[in-house]
Subunit: 564 residues, 2 copies
């Protein structure tokens, strides 16, 4: 054959939803057959969803997934299309681990089973814990073409001594079908493109790369399946963040094929925005929540979170609640109301002022009742009437309590609104603004929150200008501003990126930020606060990942006396 | 030499506390020298503490730890004693990882550097993420003896194709010095004993095994360093959970040496109790908290937690607060007061009844104010006046709020009191009874909570008999009992152990529990609840580990449609 019609099954599976995933795969196979595809390719672990963590070593889970594989094989009995799909296979005799596997299915039979050889174990990946590595990569002859297969990390071979693609090249593969569950971060599409171009040229074969879309807890998968020829030319690109069977007609003899450039949106706010929308939608719907609730402060973080939620779920599934406190500005109410109006969401005002005064009254009364020892008053406040850290936290926690009350009563998922800069610095309250089921912006630096808000407002202005322009404030004390206790976000975010994502020392950060004239003291204080606040992040809900080093892939001890 | 005096430096380092750890090691070396030791051996990563996670790839961290190593080497210049100590070394050129290393120091010089070859990456270990494996294990001649060295996993070689001990045996090692940071669970001492006996006989050399003590976040280390000869005889045992330089005079020519049996306490309540005491003490003191606060319900979990805290910190650093609610029995107050009296701790009564009524009033008022859509009342309650799940949670959260208020105001760490059975079933409230900095009993099954309480009361009866005898209840509704919504704990705990620790399917569990006549329905419901409640555990504070499979080493997705 010199012309093949390739069906790239860029599906969105749900972890553990075997019947749902199976139905989806079968429907796509049928569609591929109808469209006259020669091949229908599905992602890594498409049958079970990915990542499955400890589920991968659960016998009943493996059994169920093998049933699905059988059903898929049977369904192809009378079909012309060949199917490639990812599943979990038993581990070798005596092992408690299983195998991350791929099946090549034709006319009702599994013609080839290929096991993943390179098991990523770093950052957000822990595959060596669950899987035994495969050994050897064979090729097969398919309709006159020599084909090889690979699973995700198998093609990212730079850091490994085993090189699966090299074996495939030695076995004279002409086309390699690579199935993937490759999670998104804002650098990822570019890295992937460079890799595929380099590997196809280096080894002299074409690569069909199929990736899943969708999100699973903290991880977002962007799809963007593609076809690269052996000269490193990208012949086809499936869209990002979109489920579908994408069909490419491939003329293997064509000398000067049309190529498709990397979209300009890569790493841009529009892309990050789409990623977050998908992350919210999938977490909410895959966990069967009908609706969400968000505390609106009038600030930019909660405004952006609510806007993302609307774009993910539709306005009718989003509730905004503003909970003005003693020190809230007029804007906290007004700007929230304007946002809600712009978004067309339900809006409620539940002030915490009276509750706060009532509880504070009880607490202070309790503390004045006779105790064996006098009680020191800690926190920032000094004299009578000043606001202590305790009182700040109490306000934040009363808001958390209110949102959880609504969540329990109405079955809504609480979305938390903290950003990465705040979580880094511990500028957030446990059981207060951190209370909720999903943290939407926890991997987005504050300066990127602004970029995303401006991007979204370009499409249609929904976030009030005041929310974007006013100086950020927690409004837990009179005239409080974030910048009273944090460096300017433009500086802080640079420090945080160098520290968290590049793993630089404070001296190295000082050198990089020389032009901005940042002092070693500011840097030291910031990185020590990052380390010190690990205990808060340990209790955070899942945080959607959009950077190369998210909290989820960063493992730090809580007990840690080391100072940067 | 035919007689050596071995100093087993069973120290308790603190992660990142380079000056503290260094001072400790130097003091122990001095003591060893004074006592005429030939060898002073310190645990794996003794210089930095263990585990350090991502700190292991931080350049400034590695640098600081290498300074300590230099200082230690210099300190031995004029000493007779040789020193073996664990530290972090740079990774090979071009690698971003580092090395888990051991230094053999004599007369101011590092005579041997040995890198850990087997890097545990499963359960609570993730070493492949941070460390490059060593290659090859050499021996050295020391005072006429051929010596080898190994680091922790290097001796647990069953699951690996590389066998460091085999290399040492081929290189004719007579004694192998193994340094360890081997975390405790109740099976561990027995497993370790069996391993060391088997390996020493198999390879024909003696093993000096030195383990750290102390705790680091979720992990507890039990020490129990020992000396095993080449016939698998245990010649010496250092105590469990105790820091010290333990000296053993070893006559290498002795044909019939005295042997020491494994203590009978292994896996028994007395041992688990000691482990938890150490876990609480170290978390509190290493994180520089002066005192703790515990919510006392009158039940056995909080009573045991408070007792453990007293044994760990002393009564004067423990505050007990009882917070009777609308549905609290008289016992919740009375039994708590009796416990506090028995323990000699400060005791306060802060009822939540008024606060609960006040907040509920506000919330219900808010909900009756005009809203665009009618609000369904979810939860367990049906008619007017019944208690909904929302109202139950509100009570628990008001207690969490109260404790966090005290924590903020007085700088006390909140200890949470939930046990493993409750966390498994989701029988706990996020931001309510789950709010706090350390969960003491979260890896102890309810039936073991009873065992521990009875054990402790044998020493001195402090936990009121009523707390032990009354049927467990959350007291969030009238006449509520745990057993209304959970299977009897004797049955439930058996199901949980088989499911969580043995990873059995429901059919396998049914078979094992056949004699107890447990139905498949009960089993299915229990394991599905374990899976469903992953989202709660994700937001739990560190949980002290005492079983082979704790939550910390169990990785499950939140989004998961699989039904056991």
């Amino acid at each position: 054959m010199t012309k093949i019609r390739v069906g790239l099954g860029q599906i969105n599976p749900t972890v553990g939803d075997f019947s749902g995933n199976l139905a989806k795969i079968l429907a796509f196979i049928e569609e591929a057959e109808k469209k006259g595809c020669d091949l229908a390719i599905f992602p890594e672990l498409a049958i079970s969803g990915y990542p499955v963590w400890d589920l991968a070593i659960k016998k009943s889970f493996i059994r169920e997934n093998l049933h699905s594989l059988e059903t898929i094989a049977k369904a192809t009995r009378r079909l012309k299309v060949s199917v490639v799909v990812g599943y979990i296979d038993h581990g070798p005799q005596g092992s408690t681990k299983s195998r991350n596997a791929l099946a090549w299915i034709e006319k009702g039979k599994v013609r080839l089973r290929q096991y993943k050889s390179l098991l990523p174990t770093y950052d957000v990946f822990l595959e060596e814990i669950f899987f035994e590595p495969g050994e050897g990569h064979k090729t097969l002859s398919w309709r006159g073409i020599r084909l090889g297969t690979a699973i995700c990390e198998d093609i990212w071979d730079q850091q490994y001594s085993i090189k699966p693609l090299q074996s495939l090249s030695r076995n004279r593969a002409q086309i390699v079908v690579a199935i993937n569950a490759s999670p998104y971060h804002k650098e990822k599409a570019r890295l992937r493109d460079e890799l595929l171009k380099r590997q196809s040229k280096r080894y002299g074969f074409s690569i069909i790369y199929v990736n899943q879309i969708g999100s699973q807890d903290d991880l977002i998968f962007d799809g963007r399946s593609l076809v690269v020829d052996r000269k490193g030319r990208v012949l086809f690109r499936a869209p990002a963040f979109e489920e579908g069977l994408f069909v490419y007609d491939w003329d293997l003899k064509e000398k000067n094929p049309k190529t498709v450039p990397l979209p300009a949106s890569v790493g841009e706010p529009s892309e990050i925005y789409q990623a977050l929308v998908l992350g919210v939608r999938d977490y909410v719907t895959k966990n069967k929540f009908k609706s969400v609730v968000i505390g609106l402060s009038g600030g930019i973080d909660s405004a952006l979170t609510a806007t993302l939620a609307c774009d993910a779920l539709g306005s009718d599934r989003v509730l905004g609640v503003t909970m003005p406190g003693v020190y809230s500005s007029e804007g906290s109410w007004k700007d929230s109301e304007e946002l809600a109006k712009n978004l067309g969401i339900e809006f409620r005002v539940y002030p915490i002022k009276e509750k706060y005064n009532a509880l504070l009254h009880y607490y202070q009364e309790e503390r004045h009742s006779p105790h064996p020892n006098p009680l020191p008053i800690l926190g920032r406040g000094k004299g009578e009437g000043e606001i202590t850290l305790t009182m700040e936290n109490l306000q934040a926690r009363l808001r958390g309590l209110e949102l959880m009350y609504i969540s329990n009563e109405e079955g809504r998922l609480v979305l938390t609104t903290g950003n990465k800069s705040e979580l880094a610095m511990g500028y957030c309250t446990l059981y207060g603004d951190m209370a909720g089921g999903l943290c939407v912006l926890g991997d987005v630096y504050k300066t990127d929150v602004y970029r995303l808000a401006r991007y979204r407002n370009q499409i249609k202005p929904v976030i009030p200008q005041a929310s974007i322009e006013k100086p950020p404030s927690a409004e837990l004390r009179p005239n409080q501003k974030d910048q009273d206790s944090l460096p300017p976000y433009e500086i802080l975010d640079e420090i945080l990126k160098l520290y968290i994502e590049k793993n630089l020392t404070r001296e190295e950060i000082l050198k990089v930020l020389m032009p901005q004239k940042v002092s070693l003291e500011v840097i030291t204080d910031a990185i020590n606060r990052v380390d010190h606040n690990e205990y808060k992040r340990r209790q955070a809900p899942p945080i959607l990942r959009v950077t190369q080093k998210a909290w989820f892939g960063r493992r730090m001890p809580i007990t840690n006396r080391f100072m940067g």
